[in-house]
Symmetry: C2
Subunit: 217 residues, 2 copies
């Protein structure tokens, strides 16, 4: 499969690296062609790894992964070009996080979400929100955390969610640990989990953790 991974930070490099390792062709996209982090990644990640602009990455891809910070996700997709997203699966792992006064702030929050904003801005893209609830190491190596912990998908397109569930399976998330929360509006819920994630990171003193839901009768 040909993937575009938009974003050259730790999240983009972790996802891009794992996808290359799995045998996919990956273009790590950034705002400029000569992003040093992207160029270095492309040299070191192995066969199948390339770098380029957001547009280069998206135009050649079958699946586009949004791995920039949530607050710049829309501008990255605008640079990628609407025509390069039409009909494609767009995997949104972003969180619209900022820090103010030592506190995490989400924007949007409550009555809207990044997942919905992306789907509204690109109605012909098949947006799936996933993986934003775990650290990027855990995204691509869930076995770093022992136990039957879970990951969420949400989106409007059942076929796209199935395809993303397959990608998650390649990463090491068995299908029975992928919880389908429903439509893209559930992006609100999984994005609003982030402040709790940050508090837990402080409480537990680590970033490699994840949740499991237990059910009774």
């Amino acid at each position: 499969m040909r993937y575009a991974v938009l974003g050259t930070g730790v999240v983009g490099r972790a996802l891009g690296g794992k996808l290359v390792e799995l045998g996919h062709e990956v273009t790590l996209g950034s705002r400029t062609k000569d992003n040093p982090s992207a160029l270095q990644w492309a040299r070191e990640a192995g066969a199948g790894a390339q770098s380029g602009t957001f547009e280069d990455a998206a135009s050649s891809a079958e699946v586009v992964v949004v791995a920039v910070g949530g607050r710049v996700a829309l501008s990255a997709l605008e640079a990628a070009g609407a025509g390069n997203l039409d009909g494609k699966v767009v995997v949104d792992v972003s969180n619209p996080l900022g820090f103010e006064d030592g506190q995490v702030r989400l924007d949007p929050v409550g009555s809207d979400s990044m997942g919905e904003q992306i789907q509204r801005a690109y109605p012909h893209a098949r947006v799936v929100k996933t993986l934003n609830t775990v650290n990027c190491d855990v995204m691509v190596a869930p076995s770093l955390v022992p136990g039957e912990h879970q990951i969420f998908v949400c989106g409007e397109d059942a076929g796209a969610k199935e395809q993303v569930t397959g990608m998650l399976g390649e990463f090491g998330w068995p299908a029975h640990r992928v919880l389908d929360l429903g439509g893209i509006a559930s992006s609100r819920s999984v994005e609003m989990f982030l402040p709790l994630w940050v508090d837990l990171m402080r409480t537990l003193g680590k970033t490699h953790f994840n949740l499991q839901f237990h059910t009774g009768d």
Copy 2:
């Protein structure tokens, strides 16, 4: 211990009933003296159960439990009377939830929370936020859900959190499953978990569930 439980809905009755069963004296408080639901509860809950106004309940109590809906929590506490809260442990289990267009909405959300609003309004109360992340049956009978699932406490007063952790222990939550998230500002995080709780209720088709965090290295 003498408890005031403010609120006569399913949450208040569940908490009040369990506290009575544990041998505590409980006054279930409501806006009026003749609330039928409170009167019936007091008749049926057993020795130690009384009903009264919010003020009646709070004035005689050592611990005040806020079990009304989050959106009316401040007005219930105002009716209880600031002087009846001074120096007392105030256990806030409320969620400021409403439904709009079939979606859960929180208000406040993001940059404030009910837990903080209560602590700010009553600076001499020792507010502890807890239990708002589970269904009321699970609050008082965590064994309804198998597994090592967890519950949160947050608040400014370490002694108050310790006392509430003791109450949780009486309910069936062992201390190692009580996660202290820190100060009362973490009320934001646990309140923002609610939309995910509602999505999960729809996905899982049940209300008796809870989360466990697994940690790696």
